[in-house]
């Protein structure tokens, strides 16, 4: 992966030129600490039509008060990405309208992903006091002839006379620990302020102190519903860096497992959507079918939810005898049961009324927010990594990238059902043709990657999951960055929630299907 470094002054003009040249999808915005070379940011851009990719980077040697220009007016998603970089590295983005911390408490001392961060308990003890209310939107602007600017604007986010409610962090419908602060007018949502970080475990920092095989354990716990796909991405990235070819048998097994995982995740999404809308029976039906997938996983991998199955160079264990038959039986069973689920929940008139036209995200907005996965495809954006940059066996199997046009909640649910059907279709093509051979390649216990930057991405259950590794030739990575699938979805909620009702928040949240540990990492 080659990166072009651009000068700080030209960042906005260069990026604007690229944006106008069709690079409309900001795939990743990675904060970096290059030590003496300074702090910086890597932009990974992609053309949503031609799938051409560009890597740019910018850095500043200032460590005390580093500042870089914002790009959040060109790509909406940059707003949250830049807040994340500010949170981790303390880089201020001038021109950004809301420069607050994204994940950590606002009374947190220091910037944890900097290489000189002091993680001692004395500086940041476990605080049992509530977070001090920080309701100020800060923004910074460049002054003449100065590197860093004074605070130009401070504005209260919620006003005193607004009816503000907190949904979360402990709330049944946020699917984990996400917190929404909503200003309401009656039932209608006027303003929305999303707080993440309640499950921020600092995985990216932890990765920097682990060896490559040890990294694998973390990916499963990011988005536990696409555990397999996440791990696939990391393995792929490391294998690419090592120049390791994995055997066809392992490729087949990985692809099948990825698709099974997709079915598992989509079933869970459908059933949770049903539960959030109050249809508990449909929830249980979905879980009943999901158990069958878990049985299949368990037989080969030994794990139910988290499988720890992919390893560098292949997979952990070979498939068992007769496993193929079970998978085939399951495919037939699932196609039958998904019809039942449709009758019970999806085709219900109440569901249709609750979901149609609710939470509409247009194609342009989806691209600008980088909302990939079913959300993007429901809006008509062909963003499937399996088609864009085929990996594993996806270049060879026949499957359709289903697209919907309305981009509303109902389309997002239909997308899931279509994807389950496509996943079954893919599995059926592969399951009978698993070639004989080794299921893994022998690797050394300590792996050293060559110096350089590597990235790989897969189609996770709810969007594009990307891995970026910068290696300085050690047995530990210098920097690991995971592209969260959920953060763009959360970001897009800012847009689509305005004017909705509280009940719609639940519908939209359920159909966007974010997983919080994946967002917070």
């Amino acid at each position: 992966m080659d990166i072009t470094f651009i000068d700080k002054k030209d960042v906005r003009t260069t990026l604007r030129k690229m944006r106008e040249g069709g690079m409309d999808f900001l795939r990743e915005l990675i904060g970096m600490d290059w030590g003496e070379e300074g702090l910086g940011v890597i932009y990974i851009l992609e053309n949503s039509c031609t799938h051409e990719v560009a890597h740019l980077a910018v850095r500043t040697t200032e460590r005390q008060r580093p500042a870089l220009p914002t790009v959040c007016d060109m790509w909406k998603i940059a707003e949250l990405y830049e807040r994340e970089v500010y949170d981790f590295y303390g880089i201020h983005f001038t021109g950004h309208p809301d420069m607050r911390r994204l994940f950590l408490r606002n009374d947190w001392e220091g910037f944890p992903l900097r290489k000189d961060y002091d993680a001692s308990e004395a500086i940041n003890p476990i605080r049992l006091t509530s977070e001090p209310p920080e309701d100020l939107q800060r923004s910074y602007e460049i002054e003449e002839d100065k590197e860093f600017a004074a605070i130009a604007k401070r504005e209260n986010f919620m006003h005193f006379d607004e009816y503000v409610i907190n949904i979360g962090p402990q709330h049944p419908a946020t699917h984990g620990v996400l917190r929404f602060r909503l200003a309401l007018a009656g039932e209608e949502i006027r303003k929305i302020d999303i707080h993440c970080g309640y499950i921020h475990r600092g995985i990216e920092k932890l990765c920097e102190s682990k060896t490559y095989p040890q990294l694998l354990a973390f990916t499963d716990r990011l988005d536990y519903l696409s555990a397999h796909q996440n791990r696939h991405a990391l393995c792929m990235c490391i294998e690419k860096a090592m120049g390791l070819e994995i055997t066809p048998r392992a490729q087949y097994i990985r692809t099948i497992m990825d698709e099974l995982q997709r079915i598992d995740s989509h079933l869970l999404m459908l059933s949770c959507a049903a539960m959030d809308l109050g249809a508990l029976t449909a929830f249980i039906y979905g879980f009943r079918d999901r158990e069958k997938v878990l049985d299949i996983f368990e037989e080969v991998t030994g794990g139910r939810l988290i499988q720890n199955y992919n390893i560098i160079g292949g997979v952990q264990a070979d498939i068992t005898a007769g496993w193929e038959v079970k998978v085939k039986d399951y495919c037939t069973y699932q196609l039958d049961k998904i019809k039942e689920f449709e009758d019970l929940f999806v085709k219900s008139i109440i569901t249709k009324n609750r979901m149609t036209g609710v939470g509409v995200l247009t194609r342009e907005e989806a691209i600008s927010y980088g909302a990939t996965g079913c959300t993007g495809r429901a809006a008509g954006w062909a963003c499937d990594v399996r088609k864009r940059h085929p990996y594993a066996l996806y270049g060879e199997v026949d499957f359709k990238e289903v697209l919907h046009t309305h981009g509303d909640s109902y389309d997002r649910v239909l997308m899931r059902i279509d994807e389950i059907k496509q996943a079954v279709h893919i599995i059926r093509q592969l399951i009978d043709n698993i070639p004989a051979g080794e299921y893994k390649q022998k690797t050394k216990p300590i792996i050293k990657l060559p110096e350089g930057r590597f990235s790989a991405s897969v189609e996770g259950s709810r969007g594009e999951f990307g891995v970026f590794i910068e290696s300085h030739g050690d047995k530990n990575p210098y920097r690991v960055k995971f592209r969260p699938m959920g953060l763009p979805l959360i970001a897009s909620m800012h847009k689509i929630l305005k004017g909705c009702k509280i009940a719609d928040l639940i519908t939209i949240g359920a159909t966007l299907d974010y997983v919080i540990p994946d967002i917070d990492r």
């Binding site: 009816y163 049944p172 419908a173 049903a274 809308l277 109050g278 009940a503 639940i506």
Partner: protein, 357 residues
């Protein structure tokens, strides 16, 4: 069998030993005790039934380990609930906060006392019975509003407001349906309504308008009891627990019990007004069948019909997703109320023209 013989006998017995005033007092206490006991008994049955029916719909088995077939499960819950700490909230309106659950229970007990379980087995029966029933059932919403208001919790507040909007709206449809049946029966006295169904239940006698009224009543009744698909006031996934978010221990227990008992009451009223209450099935012309049906005691008929309707409501509850607040109100004001009004007119025409059976 006429239960009034038993009550008269007890009355006479008491009168021989006590002065008039004391008799009335004693009888009032006795009736109150019986009512509360019956109320609690039915609540326990209802909760157990709900769990088992829900489990059956969801491919589960429900409570199994506490007692044989889980029969003692509800008792365990009651014991637990009784000793649970009752939390008092800072900056809440303490009096209203602790009053609210009692208002809700009181309203439902009062409504419960109007139900005719068999001939003569009815606590309250007078010439404007239906009217009283509606009045008693509709002040439950007051308790819910107070609970939401006094809790000093924004979720509770939204829940209570939703509940106010919803229950008061649906009261209208319930009222219209009851009125339709009152037109058919020609009386507001509940016992007289049941008596006049001895030769055919109202749902058969009133044919089309009665069937329409029955369906509307079931929908509106479901909404009145705040149950799915109309469970917005306590919408679990939206408002955590709605108006009773801040209640713990037995105070929460009261809300919980009242909710289940309201379902029972709604079903019992449905079976009284539409399915003949304790009146056995009567098919004109089939005397042998009618005679056999007549042997089954009235209380069995009444409870059988009631639990059938409860089962219908549970079926609905465990099938459909929840509506949104605007959809709930649109359904009521744009569909159910106009249909109900037209239906009332239709029924009146039918009765005036003599087009009933």
């Amino acid at each position: 069998m006429d239960f009034s013989t038993i009550t008269t006998a007890i009355d006479n017995l008491l009168r021989t030993y006590m002065p008039e005033q004391a008799v009335i007092l004693a009888e009032c206490l006795l009736i109150a005790l019986c009512l509360v006991l019956a109320y609690v008994l039915f609540a326990i049955v209802m909760i157990f039934m709900e769990r088992k029916v829900c489990a059956a719909f969801q491919c589960r088995v429900g409570p199994m380990r506490v007692g044989y077939w889980g029969l003692l499960q509800v008792f365990a819950d009651v014991f637990k609930m009784l000793i649970k700490e009752i939390i008092s909230i800072k900056r809440s309106d303490h009096i209203l906060y602790s009053l609210a659950p009692y208002i809700v229970v009181m309203s439902s007990v009062l409504t419960f006392s109007c139900l005719p379980f068999a001939r003569g087995l009815q606590a309250l029966d007078f010439n404007i019975g239906v009217f009283f029933l509606m009045a008693a059932s509709s002040f439950g919403v007051l308790g819910i509003l107070l609970a939401g208001w006094s809790s000093n919790n924004k979720f509770s507040m939204i829940g209570a407001m939703r509940s106010g909007g919803q229950m008061i709206s649906y009261e209208l449809s319930v009222g219209l349906c009851m009125l339709t049946m009152v037109v058919l029966g020609g009386t507001m006295q509940i016992s007289a309504i049941v008596e006049s169904q001895l030769d055919g239940w109202f749902i058969f006698k009133g044919h089309i308008p009665a069937c329409i009224a029955f369906v509307i009543y079931l929908i509106a009744g479901n909404a009145e009891t705040n149950r799915a698909p109309f469970d917005l006031p306590e919408a679990e996934s939206e408002l955590t627990a709605g108006y009773h978010t801040e209640y713990s221990g037995m105070h929460f227990g009261f809300f919980y019990v009242a909710e289940f008992m309201n379902v029972f009451i709604v079903s019992a009223i449905a079976s009284t007004l539409f399915l003949g209450g304790w009146a056995p099935l009567y098919i004109p012309g089939l005397n042998a069948v009618n005679a056999v049906m007549g042997y089954i005691p009235g209380i069995v008929w009444m409870l059988g019909k009631t639990f059938f309707v409860i089962w219908l409501l549970m079926w609905i509850r465990w099938t459909f997703p929840r509506l949104r607040i605007d959809q709930v109100l649109v359904l009521e004001w744009q569909y159910l109320v106009p249909i109900g009004l037209v239906n009332l007119l239709l029924m009146t025409i039918c009765v005036v023209m003599g087009w009933t059976f």
